[in-house]
Symmetry: C2
Subunit: 257 residues, 2 copies
DNA sequence: GAACGTTATTCGATAATGTCGAATATGCTA
DNA sequence: TAGCATATTCGACATTATCGAATAACGTTC
């Protein structure tokens, strides 16, 4: 691990949390001398990854991130292929749908379809949710034992009264999830919001993403039809990626690094 | 400039251009030994800024960028304040609107409102357009002489037959733009698409962003009303940011670094 | 299915490079 | 306007990244 790159990433991560920070504040957070931090920030700024806040002398994240992120989304093969299927899923169930991918201990939403009822809704692409509190996260953990192991090394954060923070309970769920190819979550991330997810596998059978439908908890449990359509969607996307059998088996794969 | 951070940023930028690259390819692009590049990529990967493409041994941009970018957008004060005004602008003109900010020699779209006619439209947030070929870019260049100087050091790229690539012609436009507080562009970035932009100033009178309306070139020229509403929108946003007079004067400001 | 070529990855000695403290400049506050 | 806090520059030093060589993994061809 290259020290200065590691530190640069920490700077970005700190700014992600705090939005605006001065050099001294950053130095405090990272436990480094201000002059060192200044050098790092200066380098990041030269590439637009960090910007000076207008009219102040604090720093914030920079516009280059927006461009990079846009290219990132374009690069994702799953996303491009899944889009038409999730739209169909949304239409057939009348629910909002999400496509999610793993980012350390969170699931990040890489595509989102609004509920087709035309109500005012936020764009959710880019949203991140702790893995253990999301249906998509449970799918990803079920199929990635290494990630689960790592996750359970630290205590799990509770987001609502219903968040499951006991690893043992989650592990019990994983077994069922593997069998059914479906994970659920009720009020575990956001009160009043529940979701159901299914795995997306690529041609090697690796689960690389998850699809979910999101519904108000007041409409829980969803009709069986919703489950079937969701499962079918996940299967269709996987098929398009070159994977045919269903559901994908849970196998411990060597972490590629 | 810290060398390894600079190189890391170059890696991101290369991946932005090429989508997928192996270590050797990257090493070729940057003119570095593969082992060096490998170390950099490994460090970036540890933070999710870069990811290994599923099933291959090439690398691509990573999901952490999406999260960072989302926070970046949330951080932008202009964006939050401008949003309701641009929505109103879109409604009153019946046109798509954009909010743009400068990123080196491009304008990056930080917010976008669809044409309210309900037609199928792409989300344009994150889109980037060369400054010299966009109305928003001309606004930003008019108010940032340093950026213009830098831009003119290299020959300008032509995007359509109508792109203005002669610095002298652009400089002539800048004078008019400063006077009117309005910049235009006809088919200069995308054939069949034209736009009109106005400056957004913060409390110091620095022009930090631009608003634009985009219309099919077939509807050019727009009614006077469109110009007036656009100008009014820019003024309202600027007022909300604490700047009152209009249009903002062009003054050469010291580059803050 | 085996053997080659290609590409990724690891390792360690070297010296180039980032680091950090002190000095200076800048900007904010009272 | 003075004083303080914060950002920024500078340069000597030693840590740290670098790069070549060796190894491992991969994919491809016969």
């Amino acid at each position: 691990m290259i020290q200065s790159i590691d530190r640069a990433a920490q700077v970005l991560s700190s700014l992600q949390g705090a939005r605006h920070l001065g050099i001294t504040e950053l130095a405090g957070l990272l436990g480094l001398p201000p002059s060192t931090v200044h050098g790092i920030v200066k380098s990041l700024k030269a590439h637009g990854l960090v910007a000076k806040e207008p009219g102040g002398n604090r720093y914030m994240l920079g516009p280059a991130l927006l461009k990079l992120s846009n290219v990132y989304l374009d690069t994702l093969d799953v996303r491009a292929r899944a889009m038409r299927w999730t739209q169909e899923l949304s239409r057939r169930t009348g629910l909002a749908t999400r496509l999610g991918s793993e980012l350390f201990d969170e699931v990040i939403v890489i595509h989102h379809n609004n509920r087709p009822d035309g109500s005012e809704q936020m764009p959710e692409t880019g949203l991140s949710i702790p893995v253990h509190a999301s249906a998509m996260g449970k799918i990803l953990l079920t199929y990635n034992a290494d990630a689960a192991d790592q996750l359970f090394e630290k205590p799990l954060r509770s987001l609502t009264g219903d968040t499951i923070t006991d690893p043992a309970k989650l592990i019990l769920q994983f077994a069922q999830i593997a069998e059914r190819g479906i994970a659920t979550e009720e009020d575990e991330a956001v009160l009043g919001e529940s979701s159901i997810a299914a795995p997306i596998a690529d041609r090697n059978g690796s689960v690389i993403a998850a699809v979910a439908v999101v519904l108000p908890s007041s409409e829980w449990p969803p009709e069986d039809n919703v489950l079937n359509v969701l499962r079918e969607t996940a299967r269709n996307i996987s098929r398009e990626l070159g994977y045919t059998s269903w559901p994908p088996p849970v196998v411990r794969r060597p972490a590629d690094d």
